[in-house]
């Protein structure tokens, strides 16, 4: 009994919210323009599914993310590797990294539009900026947190600095790296929606804003749901990947 209740719990929560939503609409507290009833939202959702327009926007946004994410990961990895191979270099750029970490990428949009126009470049840069820092910081944490005693084993067997990196530091850090990637993915998903609202003519963010301009609040809500669901799914996929890759290690009990 307790078990079924706990598996049903999340659904109960959702049902409660929808019921409340339904009730509020029925009572006519807000106009249907401000808050369209759930059935109307669901209806538009089905229609957009059928016409396929929703997929188009989601895929456009996802492709943008993958591109920016790949660039950001490469940069973060290389810089993190450099940081771990040449520890003394950190003091030169740490300050700059900390500065940019505290600048929300969206605040750079005006400048980026000026420099790169409203083409794909602007969006790619936004995603790179959004996902770089969580990845970089986690990668550095993994690389620098390596157990000194294991590194000494490398020394004892005559490993070079690079060999130690490849055979000790990298495997040691792999869990941290994947966690950084997962966080970075979440950040870039958030950032792309914002970027698409400001400077795009396609993508899920643009779709939401466009629907609002067309006074289609129901479509706006559909867009928000889709953003939430896609974000949730990618995060879950990452979680599964993490568990798969580290299945052995998880059981090894060292992570």
């Amino acid at each position: 009994m307790k078990k079924t209740l706990s598996t049903l719990a999340p659904f109960l929560g959702i049902i409660l919210v929808v019921a409340l939503w339904f009730l509020v609409c029925r009572l006519g507290i807000f106009s249907t323009y401000v808050l369209p009833p759930p059935e109307k939202v669901f209806h538009s959702f089905l229609k957009m599914l059928k016409s396929g327009e929703i997929f188009q926007d989601v895929i456009i946004s996802l492709v943008r993310i993958l591109k920016g994410f790949a660039i950001a990961f490469l940069l973060a990895f290389l810089l993190g590797m450099f940081r771990s191979l040449v520890p003394s270099s950190e003091k030169y750029y740490n300050c700059i990294v900390q500065f940019f970490r505290n600048v929300p990428p969206l605040s750079l949009i005006p400048l980026l539009i000026l420099w790169c126009g409203i083409g794909e470049t602007t969006k790619t840069v936004i995603i790179v900026l959004a996902s770089f820092f969580p990845m970089y910081l986690n990668i550095v944490k993994g690389f620098t947190g390596c157990d000194q005693k294991l590194l000494e084993v490398g020394d004892a067997f005559g490993y070079t600095r690079f060999e130690k990196f490849k055979h000790i530091i990298l495997p040691y850090a792999s869990a941290d790296i994947l966690v950084g990637m997962r966080i970075g993915m979440g950040y870039s998903w958030r950032a792309i929606i914002g970027a698409e609202m400001i400077a795009a003519s396609s993508g899920i963010g643009h779709m939401i804003l466009f629907a609002q301009e067309m006074s289609r609040t129901d479509k706006v809500i559909v867009g928000i749901f889709v953003v939430g669901i896609v974000g949730l799914v990618t995060d879950k996929l990452f979680g599964i990947l993490l568990r798969k890759l580290f299945k052995g290690n998880g059981e090894n009990g060292w992570n």
Binding site: L150, E152, V153, H167, Y172, N252
Partner: protein, 236 residues
């Protein structure tokens, strides 16, 4: 005789604002192709001395002179295995990409009594088994000079006995030089061609045991006499 020569080795560590003088001028000759045992109480600086000889740290002053180039391997006091590698890969860790025969690795794993555990990960092994993997890792490297820091401390009487015999056999067969740290007097008497006692940061006394026989009888009169003498040295 060729070997390794330590001259006036000093080492201090800063601990909590003041410095502790761990080694206060160690003079020691480590002869080639034999087993040199370092014996002393816990905390007397045995591990420190080994780390200096192994080049993992450098002395504050003094000299370490190698007569010939050596391929050295280290068995740490803790096993220090890579948690993400299984036993087989851990044993091969020192070899890097070097080609080696699977049979050789298997042979070494069998020697340390871990047959059937090749695919096991370190956390699935007991402490003593982990330590034996670390020994196997050092042996697979085919060193000419092996430094071992209380390698058999975590083993039971019988396994320890067997490992000691293997070590003696191996040293004979390969003609390797071994620097062996222990706090067990019996172990020192069983293995050592030379026993150096560290006390208060210095080599207090050295003993040479010259026997031709492979197996020493700890109950033999000379060894009992020697043991008595060593206990006296350590006791003061």
């Amino acid at each position: 005789m060729a070997g390794i020569e330590l001259k006036q080795i000093q080492k201090t560590y800063p601990v909590d604002g003041h410095t502790i003088h761990v080694l206060k001028g160690i003079d020691l000759q480590i002869p080639e192709k034999s087993i040199t045992v370092i014996l002393g109480r816990s905390g007397c600086g045995k591990t420190t001395l080994l780390r200096l000889v192994g080049g993992l740290e450098s002395p504050d002053s003094g000299e370490i002179h190698f007569d010939t180039a050596h391929k050295t391997a280290f068995v740490f006091q803790e096993s220090r295995l890579m948690p993400w590698l299984n036993v087989w890969d851990n044993v091969k860790f020192g070899l890097k990409k070097q080609p080696c025969l699977d049979a050789t690795i298997q042979n070494i794993i069998d020697t340390v009594g871990l047959k059937g555990f090749e695919k096991a990960f370190p956390h699935q092994l007991s402490g003593g088994m982990q330590q034996r993997v670390a020994i196997a890792r050092a042996l697979a490297y085919e060193p000419s000079f092996i430094m071992m820091d209380e390698p058999f401390a975590a083993l039971d009487y019988f396994t320890r006995n067997q490992m000691q015999k293997e070590l003696i056999r191996l040293q004979k067969n390969r003609g390797a030089s071994i620097l062996f740290v222990t706090h067990s007097i019996d172990e020192a008497l069983l293995l050592g061609h030379k026993i150096a006692i560290i006390e208060n940061g210095q080599i207090k006394k050295e003993f040479l045991i010259e026997t031709d026989s492979d197996e020493r009888d700890l109950l033999a009169e000379e060894l009992i006499a020697l043991k008595r003498e060593i206990i006296q040295q350590l006791d003061l």
